[in-house]
Amino acid sequence: MTDARSILLVEDNPDDVELTLLAFEMNNIPNPLVVVEDGAEAVQYLFADGPYADRDLDDRPVLILLDLKLPRMGGLEVLRRLRHDQRSQGIPIVVLTSSLEAEDVVRSYELCANSYIRKPVDFDQFVETVRQLGSYWLVLNEGVEN
């Protein structure tokens, strides 16, 4: 990874945002983390709409980290929209959430999430989770070329 494309983090909890940034930093992941706070904003960002109208549509994130419980538009709805639009179909989406309710897991995979990870309470474990996420999705995995 030399061009260090961005990673989109869809997360409304500022503590979780800060901790995710910290975990990225502790793992020396060079990709910049773009944070949007709810589902509607995530969709606007990806489709260069609304406040993001000036954004280059071809500058797609290399990975989306998606929380499920979000204000306004929930994570599952974001998944549905992104998977139904050709412009965002190729972007890997990792659901990164608190819930381990079977229904959330099943629905996420039905809507073609690439992975489902429950955020552990133990921060050491979370740092390790982020390390593995980075090495798999940013290094090992071959995505669709921009």
Binding site: S98, S99, E101
Partner: protein
């Protein structure tokens, strides 16, 4: 002579005519008599017929009365049937309402556990994460005591997370349908003991005795949780012994078959046997034997959902035996 002869001739002529008349009259009278007899016979026949008609009419009237009675009975019967139909409909209706209420309560519980699972964990993550960030990023600014406090904060946080997870498990396992099938408990017990040995490969000196051929009807996923907890407890409470024996078997108790898990570990005081199954209640200190106090209340709920009972015998320092029965033919009993 001639006169006489004439006279006698006339006389003769007259008398023969009269005789003829008389005969005719007699004939007519005879005819009348036989006619009368015939008429009388007919009259008798008609009377007979009329009499028969009378009897027939009476019979008919009787039949009619009987039919009216029957109709009346039918009417009574019908209104009875209608009444019991109404009762049945009302019973169905109240059953439907009860089911609706139960479904609503279940949905609410589901929403509640969802919220617990999601919302209660988020602040815990922040507490743990920022404590660690302090320990790692500000090491030089903290003395040993400061670091120890932060460690305690993190330990408490993780314990809280464990409690939340166990509670969620409790609510998840006690809702939803029972999936009944024949379960090989002996095989299940062997699987659980293998998992236990795998979890602590360094631990030696534990002998497992698992009875063969124990098969019961139940939900395999839930019965696995029962054996996970009972055998797991036996494993945990024998951990301070060099040599330990853990048994799984069955024994006849009256008309019932009671399955048991027996160990020769720490045991417990019989006075507290009821407390064993209360959620979050523990008989041993966290320092000696860690746990959240949810396991046995989980087992109790599952056994009850299988129509069974659970009880325990123990002695401090001598071990414990947990018995449970399964009776899936009986409907679910509520606590």
């Amino acid at each position: 002579m001639t006169q006489i002869d004439l006279d006698s001739g006339l006389e003769t002529a007259y008398s023969s005519e009269a005789e003829e008349y008389a005969r005719a009259m007699l004939n007519i009278l005879e005819d009348f008599a036989s006619e009368k007899e015939r008429l009388e016979e007919s009259q008798r026949a008609v009377l007979n017929i009329l009499e028969d008609f009378g009897a027939e009419k009476e019979r008919l009237e009787e039949v009619q009365r009987a039919m009216l009675n029957l109709l009346e009975d039918f009417d009574v019967e019908r209104s009875k049937a209608e009444a019991s139909n109404l009762e049945l409909r009302e019973a169905f209706e109240s059953l439907r309402r009860a089911k609706e209420a139960a479904d609503a309560a279940n949905r609410e519980l589901q929403a509640f556990s969802y919220s617990v699972s999601h919302d209660l964990r988020a602040p815990l993550r922040a507490i743990d994460g920022f404590s660690l960030a302090l320990v790692k990023g500000y090491e030089g600014d903290l003395d040993a005591k400061g670091k120890d406090y932060l460690h305690r904060v993190r330990a408490a946080t993780q314990r809280m997370a464990q409690l939340i997870d166990d509670l969620l498990k409790l609510s998840r396992l006690t809702r939803g349908e029972l999936n009944l099938t024949w379960v090989d408990l002996s095989a299940l017990a062997r699987l659980v003991t293998e998992e236990l040995q795998h979890s602590q490969p360094g631990r030696r000196g534990v002998t497992f005795c698992i009875a063969e051929g124990l098969v019961a009807r139940g939900d395999p996923r839930l019965l696995k949780v029962v054996l996970d907890n009972l055998l797991g407890n036996a494993w945990k409470f024998t951990s301070k012994k060099v040599e330990a024996k853990i048994e799984f078997g069955a024994t006849r108790m009256g008309s019932r078959l009671a399955y048991f898990v027996r160990d020769d570990g720490a045991g417990f005081e019989m006075t507290y046997t009821q407390k064993l199954f209360e959620t979050f209640h523990r008989l041993h200190s966290e320092r000696d034997f860690p746990g959240t106090g949810v396991g046995l209340s989980l087992v109790l709920r599952i056994v009850r959902r299988h129509g069974g009972e659970i009880w325990a015998e123990g002695e401090v320092g001598r071990g414990a035996t947990f018995y449970f029965t399964l009776d899936t033919l009986r409907p679910e009993t509520e606590t």
